[in-house]
């Protein structure tokens, strides 16, 4: 407060209804002249939330109703989306509280951070007008941007259709549907909504920070549908919906079209290198919970790419990953993606899985065609590493004996599964 009012002589403790700080200026004739009123917007509008919880702001208003300053006290928004938060907030300075604060008309929102922008604008508008009416006794109207939000059903229907297309593509072995879902995911989730399943969501869920369902039904739909598909089929989201995965696959195929040399690594080193993403997941979760917000989790290349806000290091990182994707199939997904690592752990326990029938002769075609190297030949028998399987159906399509199919699975480790399948084959022989 002293930072905002350098000449202020007296700042009263928070008091009154609505709760506020009265700021007085020393004056030779009148020792207590009210200079301004400051308040925490959260005290007045606790119901207004951003993407990941409340955004607490300190607003200072002159007795005439002019916003003199606004400062951020606390927020949990995703850093990639709110790089320009200070510039956005500075737009409020100098405005009269009697005016309107409509996003897109009176205030320019933060690109690709609509929820955050709306929450700040509504919170400032509502709380300032309340202070103006009740504390400063000014004649101000109702909040301009406070119309009650209605549930947008389109953002429930579209993700449902997206997942239905992806699941149909997986179960129907339909490559066209898979690419259609990837394209739709890229356009809808990536370009239009900039909302993807990410480790930031995982951290926010862990910290019990949830957005408002009415204002962001897509967030809930994505989380629920991804979890359901993981528990039933496996990596449907990672394999057929993730916008960044689609970008990587297109880049990889472009590299092959241009006949650029593919980067190949040995099976042993690849298997070990895959643990890097689990390490990244652990570090990100540990750091986030230690700090108490999701800022440390905001390291995913796809968030930076689709949020389109990053530092120079952030952009260099994304470009580097995209270049590597040209030379190696899904480089990010395979070695680095922390949410992919988490999804893989759940996919390993899915109810239905791809299995090999007893007729499998161990020709190894599936091992050769698997683009992510999720199939390994052990004693001439194929073994699927389910946390890595993206359900692309390449193995199912190319199997000369057509012995791969989805089957209800009991939870067993990869080793146990291998031995059981071998036993079955031995008995069959």
């Amino acid at each position: 407060m002293q930072d905002v009012f350098t000449g202020a002589e007296k700042v009263h403790p928070k008091l009154g209804s609505p709760p506020r700080y009265d700021i007085y200026q020393a004056h030779p004739d009148n020792p207590e002249v009210l200079t301004a009123v400051a308040f925490n917007t959260y005290d007045l509008t606790p119901e207004i939330k951003g993407y990941a919880g409340p955004i607490k702001l300190l607003a200072v208003i002159s007795p005439e109703g002019t916003i003199r300053d606004i400062r951020v006290l606390k927020h949990s928004e995703t850093p990639a989306y709110v790089f320009t938060l200070d510039d956005f907030i500075s737009q409020f300075k100098g405005k009269n509280i009697a005016g309107s604060f409509r996003l897109g008309k009176d205030i320019d929102g933060i690109t690709r951070a609509t929820m955050t922008s709306e929450a700040v604008a509504r919170s400032v508008d509502k709380s300032a007008k309340k202070i103006g009416r009740q504390a400063l006794k000014l004649d101000v109207g109702d909040p301009s941007g406070d119309q009650p939000k209605t549930l947008s059903y389109i953002h429930i229907i579209l993700p449902l259709l997206l997942f239905m297309a992806a699941v149909c593509g997986v179960l129907g072995r339909n490559i066209f549907l898979r690419w259609l879902a990837l394209l739709a995911g890229f356009i809808y989730l990536g370009l239009i909504k900039s909302t993807m399943v990410s480790v930031v969501q995982l951290v926010n869920i862990g910290m019990l920070k949830f957005p408002d369902f009415v204002t962001n039904p897509l967030w809930y739909c994505l989380v629920v549908l991804t979890l359901l598909s993981l528990m039933i089929l496996g990596m449907v989201y990672c394999g057929s919906i993730c916008p960044f995965a689609g970008v990587q696959e297109v880049l990889f195929h472009l590299g092959r079209k241009l006949k650029w040399k593919e980067l190949k690594f040995s099976h042993e080193v690849t298997q070990r290198a895959r643990y890097v993403k689990f390490g990244v997941l652990f570090v990100v979760l540990a750091a986030s919970f230690m700090i108490g917000n999701s800022s440390a989790a905001n390291i995913e290349a796809f968030l930076i790419l689709f949020a389109a806000h990053a530092s120079q290091a952030g952009w260099a990182f994304v470009v580097f990953i995209l270049v590597l994707s040209v030379f190696h199939f899904r480089f990010w997904c395979k070695f680095l993606c922390p949410i992919g690592a988490f999804n893989g752990l759940l996919a390993d326990k899915s109810i239905y899985k791809i299995h090999f029938g007893p007729e499998c002769g161990g020709c190894g075609v599936c091992d050769k065609v698997c683009p992510v190297g999720a199939i390994q030949m052990v004693d001439d028998k194929p073994l699927i590493d389910y946390p890595e399987c993206i359900l692309c159906n390449q193995c199912v399509e190319k199997c000369p004996k057509e012995v791969l199919f989805f089957k209800k699975s009991f939870h067993k480790s990869a080793q146990q599964r291998g031995s059981t399948e071998q036993d079955t084959l031995t008995k069959h022989d």
Binding site: V72, S266, S295, I304, A310, A313
Partner: protein, 79 residues
């Protein structure tokens, strides 16, 4: 294992180390950006130490009771 694969493996290790370092830098920047918003550029109460000291003295308090104001993290002495 072919020589190409061996060199590929070395390249993979180098790439992963490089990327992990970049991720560390981005994580550091993100954490700092939130802290900057909340601490450095946010509301920060400042205390005019000399003024408070003078007021304390005027109020008849003993000098040692005002000493801790100027020392970050210091606590008042106990009787």
């Amino acid at each position: 294992m072919t020589n190409t694969t061996k060199s590929g493996d070395k390249l993979l290790i180098v790439l992963l180390v490089l990327i992990v370092l970049m991720m560390g830098q981005i994580m550091k920047e993100n954490v700092a950006s939130i802290r900057m918003a909340v601490l450095a550029n946010g509301a920060k109460p400042k205390v005019d130490v000399d003024k408070v000291k003078a007021q304390l003295r005027q109020a008849g308090l003993k000098p040692y009771e005002a000493q801790y104001w100027g020392i970050p993290g210091a606590q008042p002495q106990k009787d």
